[in-house]
């Protein structure tokens, strides 16, 4: 075993290498825009240079003169498309702003024309030659810009149901022995996955095939069908590999239906490859947020009052919000809690999911405030968390299905060497560098959604698993193959997995870190159906109840228990008895508490995610603790983070290798978010300025020197049959606060606004 392939602990699978490792490192993995098309035309987008106003006129002569141009589509001649509702209102779209519909412009970089040509180069050149005259109106860019409107999230956003409260916050805060009030800000961020936001659309008669990196092929298929007014069964979305998603590919963007409609009109496949900067405005992003936290505590550190107020930017058209108070009001024991989330509308494109959407901004605020409180109380920050640890969330009193927060703190603290830290700010240094150590809690709701799967087993053990899941780089192929191999008792090499195709049985959106829990639970169930058939063949007289469970480990028992009691099934004997060459089963699995319409919704591209705080009698979260070392240069004030240590408990770890990579990536993204990432907005015109990978700062190798991931063994039989808590979005949640807390320790300066840049340091 190596660092990359950690020794499995109790309730962990084997750290096998990735199913798709070889095709990826040899460059043979085909991403959506690698798919060959028959005689394609190429599209290039023209996007608006103003954020608000209208188009007066297009000057297209120059562009039309470029050799190879086939057509220039603007609102004046665009194919008509049906509107699509926002996903949170029962639709598929990440925005209801439908470009090419009228001369009106509602955000910077809105698609205003599509140039189609015989080559990419001709399309791009012609797009550069399109002239547009606008009448611009002054837009409202962000918080504090004139013209924005603010209102409570509740009532505007169907998915934001309640502002959590309990007890009497005002009274308790008033009476608290120690009080803290602090405001925190987080910036605009863009996902910037490596794979650009391409789409290719090809018609064969009435059938449409879409090649597009998507985190939800069923959502995209149904959404595009709805916009085109055709039967969803005539649309197929294919993407065996996705070059990163981070939430940006979870809901449908307007580009796809437009390209599909133009392809239909021209009767030719069309390939669209937008540029990096266009990606900043034609999809979603993480909007900037503001927070005010009030904490009241007794002198011995017990929280007596907690209030979290958050404000988030959204577009004029859509009331998107993340509402992370659902988590921050439930993390610690506290009898008097209050919260309020509001949405501030500006002239922007609609924001959307990005890497732990609610938890990243909201926990930054809470976990920074907890550190401030610890300093005020003169209590070690780890101990302050211990004092307020709880088995039940305070709002509804429901028990956590399992909660290893303090065990994570203790493991990570030990590995980090927290005990050697001198608690006084500015007390540690090394040459030109002030050193700071900080920590924070991290958590992420455990979510599951209905999923189907088809499994086919042959006499020689060869197995084929079909499921419209998504390989966005997480290791989905690998853990699904492992699950099938383990459940059927066949060698891993004999399992083939097919994903990323909406012609396969539906799987949920690869979002909310639900994929492993959902898809592996479905695959386990269908494997069990196969075992049942085989069992009946070998032991026709036996009742399927007790004897079956004992012999082949049937039913939705957690993987480990099943594995322990299983005896290998004699496949050849079973197939001979059955007298067939192949056993194939299809099944649909849904988590406990999933709504009645779950399966219907699953097929029509609506994931019915359940879990987190929305479960009936319990609440399910994965937990972790993160410790970081920052160094702040006395002279240049440069801030570097040479060491990140995280300990995490997330139920069954199907594969410690891929899980570690996810958690490591999360810690790095967290550091990136704390110190580097921010989309700058020109407030005068509500336009994004640093819309490229040179200016939108992400960490490079030299910024990442030490990352240590510790996975705790945890068994939770109350969440789902696979026993899995999602961990993809677990690690990047706590890092923002941990780093700011460490900066405070290094410099004595408390920074409440992200990202922290050298000009914010005043040592």
């Amino acid at each position: 075993m190596t660092a990359a392939a950690p020794e499995p602990k109790e309730n962990m699978g084997q750290p096998v290498s990735r199913y798709d490792a070889v095709v990826k490192v040899t460059g043979r993995a085909t991403y959506a825009s690698d798919m060959p098309l028959d005689n394609p035309a190429y599209a290039f987008l023209v996007t608006s240079a103003i954020a608000k106003g209208r188009i007066d006129r297009f000057g297209l002569d120059d562009a039309r003169g470029v050799r190879g141009v086939i057509e220039i589509v603007t609102y004046e001649n665009a194919p008509k498309l049906k509107d699509s509702k926002l996903f949170s209102d029962g639709g598929y779209a990440g925005t209801t702003i439908q470009p090419l519909k009228s001369a009106e412009i509602s955000h910077d970089g809105e698609i205003i024309a599509v140039v189609v040509a015989e080559s990419y180069e001709a399309a791009r050149e012609a797009a550069n030659r399109v002239k547009v005259s606008y009448t611009a109106t002054a837009p409202s860019a962000t918080f504090d810009s004139p013209g924005t409107t603010a209102a409570a999230a509740k009532g505007q956003n169907a998915q934001f149901k309640e502002d959590a409260k309990v007890g009497d916050f005002a009274k308790a805060f008033d009476a608290a022995e120690v009080k803290l009030t602090a405001a925190y800000d987080t910036p605009t961020q863009h996902h910037n996955p490596m794979e650009l936001f391409t789409t290719s659309c090809a018609w064969m008669g009435d059938n449409l095939v879409i090649y597009e990196g998507s985190q939800y092929v069923y959502g995209l298929k149904n959404g595009v069908a709805e916009q085109l007014g055709i039967d969803a069964d005539k649309v197929r979305v294919v993407n065996p590999y996705v070059g990163g998603g981070f939430g940006s590919r979870g809901s449908m963007t307007p580009r796809t239906a437009i390209i599909a409609a133009i392809a239909r009109r021209l009767n030719r496949p069309i390939k669209l490859v937008p540029t990096r900067d266009q990606g900043f405005t034609i999809t979603t992003y993480r909007a900037e947020t503001r927070h005010e936290i009030k904490l009241g505590a007794s002198r011995d550190g017990k929280l007596v009052a907690l209030r979290h107020e958050g404000a988030e930017i959204s577009s004029r058209a859509d009331a998107y919000c993340v509402g992370g108070t659902k988590t921050t009001t439930r993390l610690y024991a506290c009898a008097n809690v209050d919260s309020l989330v509001s949405i501030v509308r500006a002239d922007r494109n609609t924001p959307g999911f990005m890497r732990s959407p609610p938890e990243v901004p909201y926990l930054f605020a809470l976990e920074s405030a907890m550190d401030e409180l610890a300093v005020k109380l003169n209590i070690d920050p780890v101990e302050l968390r211990r004092i307020n640890d709880t088995t039940n969330e305070p709002i509804g009193g429901k028990p956590y299905t399992s909660r290893a927060l303090m065990a994570c703190f203790d493991e990570a603290a030990k590995a980090f060497g927290w005990a050697q830290r001198s608690p006084q700010p500015r007390s540690m240094s090394d040459g030109d560098w002030l050193i700071g150590h900080g920590c924070a809690a991290t958590c992420y709701p455990t979510q599951m959604a209905p999923s189907a799967a088809r499994v086919r087993l042959q006499r020689d053990g060869r197995t084929r698993v079909e499921i419209a899941g998504h390989e966005i780089g997480t290791g989905a192929y690998t853990v699904i193959a492992q699950t099938a191999a383990e459940r059927l008792g066949v060698p891993l090499e004999k399992v083939a997995v097919f994903m990323g195709d909406s012609d396969l049985p539906p799987a949920p959106v690869a979002g909310g870190s639900n994929s492993t829990a959902s898809t592996c639970s479905a695959v386990m169930m269908v494997c069990d159906q196969i075992r049942q058939r085989l069992f009946k063949a070998v032991m026709p007289g036996q009742s399927l109840t007790d004897r079956a469970k004992e012999t082949v480990g049937l039913g939705q028992t957690p993987a480990t228990q099943a594995a322990k009691s299983d005896r290998p099934l004699d496949l050849e004997k079973a197939f001979d008895a059955l007298g067939v060459g192949v056993v194939e089963e299809y099944g649909e699995w849904k988590p406990e508490g999933a709504p009645l319409d779950s399966f219907r919704a699953m097929h029509s591209g609506h994931p019915r995610l359940v879990g987190g705080h929305q479960m009936k009698d319990q609440i399910a979260y994965a937990f972790g603790a993160e410790f970081v070392e920052v160094r702040v240069n006395r002279f240049t004030h440069e801030i570097r983070c040479p060491r990140l240590v995280g300990a995490f408990a997330a139920g069954r770890i199907v594969n410690p290798r891929t899980a570690r990579s996810q958690l490591m990536g999360g810690l790095i993204w967290g550091m990136s978010s704390a110190l580097l990432e921010a989309t700058e907005i020109d407030e005068r015109n509500a336009r994004y300025v640093n819309d490229n990978l040179a200016d939108y700062l992400l960490p490079v190798n030299a910024d990442v020197s030490g990352v240590e991931v510790i996975m705790l063994s945890e068994q939770d039989d109350r969440i789902n049959p696979a026993g899995v808590k999602g961990l993809g979005e677990l690690a990047n949640v706590g890092t923002n606060a941990a780093i700011c807390n460490a900066i405070h320790h290094a410099t004595g300066q408390r920074i409440r606004k992200l990202p922290v840049r050298l000009e914010n340091i005043e040592v």
């Binding site: 180069e121 002279f635 240049t636 570097r640 907005i681 300025v689 700062l697 190798n701 000009e759």
Partner: protein
């Protein structure tokens, strides 16, 4: 990107002919219809962005044979304009005798870019001003003379505080040029009437009222080499930036000293990331001459270097930062073991 013709220059004469023949009178170099192509890491980038639209490209890479030598002779240094940044950065003799040059290159861009990019292209690289690089902004005096400056009251964190005009505040982004200007380097220029040498300090032009004119080079002229006289082992390049690699300077200082036992005989200071052109801080240097070095002196020198600085909304921090960088670079140079 727009279609362009491509020509490989077989020898220097052909190159300058091809470049000069295409040029209309009075066009600024950057708008000339033919542009030389070296590593392409600036030029191709700007063509893709539609910022530069040359009708023709003259690929000068075939001249590398004669124009890429790294030569330490006598007590001087000569660097061919087509030498790769990576090769010069890793050259042991340069690391030893000219650490300021080696480090200005090592700390620039990324390994991939340094492998492609040439010294000539590097000094000629253009500003990273976001508004300059985005053609949907009409108002950029550098791109569209007389159209205004979007950066002046826009997002200007990366912009300059020295050498600015009311027409343009774009930062000269390169690192290597700071080492050259600090060391009083000469630049060798090959044109249609042969080669000439001039001080590197005369190559770049502050924006003034003509920010579209960035250098004194004329169409049909190429940089063929750089030279430095003397050895400068007591020299440092200190660069402050947002991340540890692959990032332009927020503030940098190239410092070269002739000093013994803490007394400075001669000092050279250049500033990067803060000025519109490679920036020599001559008044500041003068304060050091013949003086015993201490932290108070370093502070006064740093203050003098930024005496004329003018900050704007997002970049005022560069003044205080720049002073600390200069003071620290001086301390490092004085205490350097050589």
């Amino acid at each position: 990107m727009r279609p362009f013709s491509y020509q490989r220059a077989t020898d220097p004469t052909a190159a300058v002919q091809a470049l000069g023949a295409a040029a209309a009178a009075n066009t600024p170099l950057t708008k000339a219809t033919a542009q030389p192509l070296a590593g392409g890491t600036t030029l191709i980038d700007l063509m893709k962005l539609d910022v530069m639209r040359p009708a023709g490209i003259v690929d000068i890479n075939p001249l590398a044979q004669g124009w890429s030598a790294i030569e330490l002779k006598g007590d001087g240094l000569r660097l061919g304009a087509l030498a790769k940044m990576a090769d010069v950065a890793a050259h042991a003799e340069i690391e030893r005798h000219y650490p300021v040059i080696a480090n200005s290159l090592k700390l620039a861009a990324s390994a991939q870019l340094r492998n492609m990019a040439t010294l000539g292209g590097n000094v000629m690289q253009r500003t990273r001003c976001s508004y300059f690089r985005d053609v949907t902004y009409e108002n950029c005096n550098k791109r569209n003379p007389g159209s205004g400056c979007a950066a002046m009251d826009g997002v200007n964190r990366m912009h300059a505080v020295l050498g600015v005009s009311d027409q343009c505040i774009a930062t000269y982004p390169g690192d290597f040029a700071q080492a050259l200007i600090a060391l009083d380097a000469m630049v060798e220029i090959t044109g249609r009437s042969g080669t000439r040498n001039m001080p590197f300090a005369e190559l770049h032009k502050a924006p003034g009222s003509t920010p579209d004119i960035e250098t004194t080079l004329q169409p049909g002229e190429l940089i063929s080499a750089f030279s430095v006289s003397g050895r400068w082992p007591r020299s440092v390049y200190l660069k402050a930036r947002d991340r540890q690699s692959y990032e332009f300077a927020l503030s940098s200082a190239a410092v070269a000293l002739d000093a013994q036992d803490g007394t400075v005989r001669e000092a050279r200071i250049a500033l990067g990331g803060v000025a519109t052109v490679p920036w020599r801080a001559r008044e500041a240097e003068a304060l050091l001459k013949g003086q015993k070095f201490d932290d108070g002196l370093a502070q006064r020198v740093a203050d003098a270097a930024f005496a004329e600085a003018r900050g704007r909304r997002h970049n005022s921090f560069k003044i205080a930062l720049g002073k600390r960088v200069v003071a620290r670079a001086l301390q490092q140079a004085v205490t350097m073991e050589i």
